[in-house]
Symmetry: C2
Subunit: 346 residues, 2 copies
């Protein structure tokens, strides 16, 4: 496989280099064609690299950055003062062609703003959207967006999200004619917000999109659609709600017995079955699909959960690798051209 270089904002996220550096080494170990630029405080990063295997270190480069954007900083302010920050320097690696994608667990608003400023949106895209691929009940996958890149989305933006989501489903998940639905509070045409109803009307008239109508929150994991489109506020709350419930179930499944005394063999069998169940639900574990892709830019940017652990951050790096290999931005641009050209003719 051809070499592939990714820039990692090593200082971002709740745990910074304690998580990002070991996760980077993990990704390097399992992807031998990968080169990683670790952006941040060289002393701190080097201290985490000290004990790494020398075969991996050959594919690591440390890029110095003086500052870090705080997770709770106001995005507008953070962007103004972003020069020299690990997040911005990492994005600049992509802008200047030294890396093919960037991964950060830092401040979402700042990442979104900086990425838009430095990498520019594709023609026909007003604002990029955060997208993730969720595993569903039927053991397939659903593309969900926007997850919070924008708090207010008008109907045009929802339509653009739908186009980008459909490309993701078709090109990356390899689903032919992916079904696209809008998230709403009822399935009837008359339900919900005005913006959603307007987007629905446009999608119905867009032959390039296999639009199937509205779905409700309880269909997030049922696999009734391949692409689920919503505004960023609702998407963020919905995804976090789902993750909260899944984590609660997984932790209850793993948690110890209910205190009653039982025979040792019953305990053993019980533990074995709990493990099996936890494994059965494992594909729903949020850590398994960490990494939301900022779609609609002339480059690939992956946003990791701020609280990601090593395994989860390594998954985010793999997402970036995959998005680059599948040429997601290029394919979205091509599809947008087609949809926009045809709708201009109409």
């Amino acid at each position: 496989m051809t070499r592939l270089t990714l820039a990692v904002d090593a200082m971002g996220g709740d745990f910074g280099p304690c998580v990002t550096v070991p996760a980077s080494l993990q990704a390097l170990a399992s992807h031998t064609h990968l080169v990683l630029l670790l952006v941040g405080d060289p002393d701190i990063i080097s201290s985490f690299l000290a004990k790494a295997d020398s075969s991996l270190l050959g594919r690591v480069q440390v890029i110095p950055a003086e500052s870090v954007i705080a997770s709770d900083a106001k995005p507008s302010q953070a962007i103004r003062n972003s020069r020299g920050s690990s997040m911005r320097v990492a994005l600049e690696q992509v802008k200047e062609g030294r890396a093919q994608a960037c991964i950060s667990a830092g401040n979402t608003g700042a990442l979104m703003g900086l990425a838009k400023m430095l990498l520019k949106p594709l023609d026909g895209i007003e604002r990029p959207a955060l997208m993730t691929v969720l595993p569903h009940q039927q053991h397939g996958k659903t593309v969900v967006l926007d997850l919070g890149a924008n708090v207010d989305s008008d109907s045009d933006m929802l339509v653009q999200f739908a186009v980008m989501g459909a490309v993701m489903a078709e090109e990356v998940l390899e689903i032919a004619k992916p079904r696209v639905a809008l998230l709403n509070i009822g399935q009837e045409e008359t339900k919900g917000l005005e913006t959603i109803r307007a987007a629905s009307a446009v999608l119905r008239d867009t032959p390039q999109i296999n639009y199937i109508g509205y779905l409700e929150g309880n269909d997030l994991l049922t696999g009734k659609t391949d692409v689920l489109v919503c505004d960023g506020f609702v998407g963020n709350v919905t995804l976090k709600t789902m993750e909260g419930v899944v984590r609660m179930f997984l932790s209850l499944l793993k948690s110890s017995e209910d205190g009653k005394k039982r025979a040792w063999w019953l305990k053993l069998v019980g533990r074995w079955i709990q493990k099996r169940l936890a494994k059965r639900f494992g594909h729903l574990n949020p850590d398994q699909y960490n990494g939301a892709c900022l779609l609609g830019l002339r480059g690939t940017v992956i946003k990791s959960h701020g609280a990601a652990n090593q395994r989860a951050f390594a998954v985010a790096i793999e997402q970036a690798e995959q998005a680059v290999r599948r040429q997601v931005p290029e394919r979205i641009a091509a599809r947008l051209d087609a949809v926009l050209a045809r709708s201009d003719k109409a």
Copy 2:
């Protein structure tokens, strides 16, 4: 206990009398002080009552209604043509003092509009909100509202929801100084929608409310707050997402083995443990807390899930019974008076 009369829209919901009448009989059997007015087509209702225990029939009265509001009807249209419908006649029983509360599994928008028109909002309330009480991880309960009575809520409405939620938590759940939080997409003050930030500023300045700030979707079931306030669109999507995930887990837990051949004793123990787990999560089963209360009216109205089964609809009837016994509307009115009076002085 004193007699208590409730009006049931027997025709509403996905299954109509097939569910509402048996559920009514179930509620009558477990609450001997209850009298139920079953509103709808007398012939159909009677046919479901035919085999009922005569001791229960003494506490049932059938109130004729000619029509049914369709679940997918446009609320404004449905309300215009509502005269004589089972939902409206049921609400009229409350308005005219013949019943103390009404339960319906019918069209949410129509129920909300008709209830507001017939029962009138309390002083200081612009629009009623749908509220439910969710079980949380710490085995306590959280009041969540609005769940979809309104699709667009301004900051004043969010503050009113907060006051109503706090009264519910204090008076019905008996939590002293209940914690109140706003649902948002981040915990920092700068996050989220303008309306939410404005409501937050008002709540911080309202000494009668124990406001604790923002919470995110993943905290829906963690018990970090006693009252969680959001606009109706977000609340509806969030609740349905949560229910979807919980139902998926419960069905996977109950579902049969993974196909591998195992010793009979292992299968038996496996089934026993699965049952135990299902029981352990049982309090999270959406059927256990069916029935959202329409708060902010001069009367009690309970909205059941349209797809409620018999057990779930019986729970909704019990919610109505409890709301009446706890004098929820009266207590909310009194608290609103206090908050409004003090904020007028300020």
